[in-house]
């Protein structure tokens, strides 16, 4: 028997409607007791959480671990080490690996203990073979192998009939289709948002409608199919409004926002700084403000990182030629606490919903996203106010393509616990 007692902390667990001091006992990887302070007897190991917030382990719905096939950027071991350092106890790994994760074999391979994952890895499998957008993959077999959702992230399904079939198949299995909403017919060779900044820099731009038109269509198709749709990394005010309206109509539609989309805008790309090049691109100040509002009012369900590691030679080149994406696992929690909790008085309950309760609900991770007795012993312990500065040179990720170096945050992850084992300590 292996037991861990988390003592003296303040538990924020929206699923149990708890926002008060609680001690938590984890035995053999599962929560066995949640009790008022001092009521539980000691365990093999004790974690002192005095003055800290104890939350159900954070779940990142959107990461690129690059393995198999692109281990020069990241491996499952290094990516999950960065996740642990960022307070994430589970990550959902996108299928744009090499080869694309469209098979039960790769899905299982990614979850093999041999990969050296430090936190839980839940693969999101490709919705179509090779993410080529032609033929659906075998959702049932993928689900059986451990995939929690399907997506052709980065290569959105443009064909209406195929997207409808993907949604219908996924609905039968009770899993969501996650869509990177981008009409790629409108975004060819466009490294940033279409607007005055792209015009000024002489760069081709992606119009906002490239995102919202796909979101609009996907919502319509999801309604027809009675399916669950999750909109990845939403970036425009218009797309957000469509999600809001779909929710009001009671559809099974959810959406995530990435820290970079609520921290930065297209003007950050001035001087061709490729650390601000990502897809979807940074949008306008109005879009950023709309996302912040959506995070506050509940239109957005999830904060996900879209952690996208790239090697120096792929990222620090001409803007047009630079790879899309930045890393983000290590700053997401700090960004949420700083820009939502501290700056906009968003209660911690809502922060935990965005980072744990809701992502768990969306990909149906039973026994996660809560610390109710019986749940997995995945815990994130953080200081909700502590000031710290991000030092990119110390990142656990294999890549350093992020604009956060030297950035100050208020709110810091202190301990990350997976199945009752401390995997990260600040």
């Amino acid at each position: 028997m292996n037991s861990l007692l988390i003592r003296g902390g303040h538990l924020v667990d929206p699923a149990q409607n708890i926002d008060e001091p609680r001690d938590i006992l984890i035995v053999d990887g599962r929560v066995t007791e949640v009790a008022a302070p001092g009521k539980l007897q000691s365990a093999d190991k004790v974690v002192n959480a005095r003055g800290l917030i104890v939350a159900p382990g954070f779940i990142d719905l959107h990461v690129h671990l690059r393995e198999p096939g692109q281990t020069h950027k990241e491996t499952i071991a290094t990516g999950t080490a960065a996740a642990a350092a960022g307070g994430f106890t589970s990550v959902c790994a996108m299928p744009n690996t090499k080869p694309v994760n469209d098979s039960p074999a790769i899905t299982r391979w990614m979850q093999d203990p041999e990969r050296g994952a430090v936190v839980n890895v839940f693969p999101i499998a490709a919705a179509t073979a090779g993410s080529a957008g032609e033929k659906l993959s075998d959702f049932a077999a993928l689900r059986h192998a451990g995939a929690v959702a399907v997506s052709d992230d980065g290569k959105p399904i443009l064909d209406d009939a195929l997207m409808h079939d993907a949604l219908a198949n996924a609905a039968r299995l009770g899993i969501p289709v996650i869509q990177h909403a981008e009409d790629t017919r409108l975004t060819a060779s466009s490294p940033m948002h279409l607007g005055i900044t792209s015009f000024r820099l002489g760069l081709r731009g992606q119009p906002a409608e490239a995102e919202w038109k796909i979101v609009e269509r996907d919502i319509r198709l999801a309604e027809m199919a009675g399916a669950q749709l999750h909109v990845a990394h939403i970036s425009t005010e218009e797309a957000l409004a469509l999600v809001r309206e779909a929710k009001q109509r009671g559809l099974k539609v959810s959406a995530e926002a990435c820290p970079h989309h609520f921290l930065f805008i297209d003007e950050n790309c001035a001087d061709y700084d490729t650390r601000y090049k990502m897809n979807p691109p940074l949008r306008t100040a109005a879009d950023r403000d709309a996302l912040l509002h959506g995070l506050v009012d509940g239109t957005l369900d999830v904060i996900a990182t879209d952690h996208a590691p790239h090697a120096k030679f792929e990222k620090f080149v001409e803007f047009d030629r630079a790879a899309f994406g930045i890393t983000g696992l290590e700053i997401a929690v700090g960004a949420a606490l700083t820009h939502l909790h501290r700056a906009r008085k968003v209660p911690l309950k809502r922060i935990v919903e965005l980072l744990s309760t809701n992502p768990s609900r969306i990909v149906h991770l039973d026994g996660r996203g809560t610390l109710a007795p019986g749940a997995h012993g995945d815990v994130t312990i953080f200081d909700s106010k502590k000031r710290w500065t991000y030092d990119l040179s110390k990142t656990r990720s294999k890549s350093r393509n992020a604009p956060y170096d030297g950035m100050e945050f208020y709110g810091k992850v202190m301990k990350t616990i997976v199945a009752g084992n401390v995997v990260f300590e600040a």
Binding site: A188, S189, G195, I196, S198, F199, R200, L201, G202, L203, R204, D271, Y272, F313, F316, V317, E318, F319, D320, R321
Partner: protein, 302 residues
Amino acid sequence: MNGKPRSLLGIEPLTPRQIIDFLSAARKMDPKRPRTTLRGRRIALLFYENSTRTRVSFEVAAKSLGASTVVMHASSTSIEKGESLKDTGLTLQSIVDAIVVRHPNSGAPTLLSRILDIPIVNAGDGMHEHPSQALLDAFTILEHKKTLKGLKIVTVGDIYHSRVARSDAHLFTKLGAHVTFCGPEVLLPEEAAQLAPGIRIVRDMDEALTGADVVMMLRVQQERLSGLQINLDEYIRRYQLNPQRVKLAKKNALVMHPGPMIRGMEMTDEVADGPQSVVLEQVLNGVKVRMAILASLLGGRR
């Protein structure tokens, strides 16, 4: 930023003073009277994109100052396969004193300047800027007009794809001219008006030309259209500069074109070769301006 810039990456970062300094220096330059200002200096002309006139112009300018030149042509396939721009730059830095770079990607000179310590001259990057062209355009105008201040300068055509239009607009507005952009929506998005203070967009060419002091015609860059559909017949009807349209501008208005010109498309032969056309002067002035650019960036630097 005041004083001398280290590199010339674009017009946008320059102050009016710095622009005037380049123009004044150009007035003293003459390729027919070579100088020794840059004797013993080596200048690399790194061209990732085909260009005859700009490359030749820079080469003549460098040689007229006594510098030696190394021309490096890189086809786009060699970019795909070969070493990165960064490594090319680092390699060149150890053997030359400055790099003049033409590149199909916007921002490539900015990237080079961030990595290297030697002056970088942007000889045209993607759709971004072409600062030496804007300086020579201003220089040419100033040979005919006392000042840019208050002039009405109309730029017509494919503004979206044009690095010349962007550099020109920055320069002209910084020196007090009123810039009007004219072109169809696909080649001239509304955002263009926010590029620099006071830019107006007028879709109708006749209206745009009325009272103009300078008409700058741009080439339709068919190679950059990438899927945009334009009807050339209609384009010519609406945006070609013909003798009737020239009459709408002021009597002494200048007709300019940064080249390469497609006769019969942007303008008719009569206009291109007409009395108001200064297209050929632009070419000669290009050498003077580029001499001034190289001399001010490199002169006195060792």
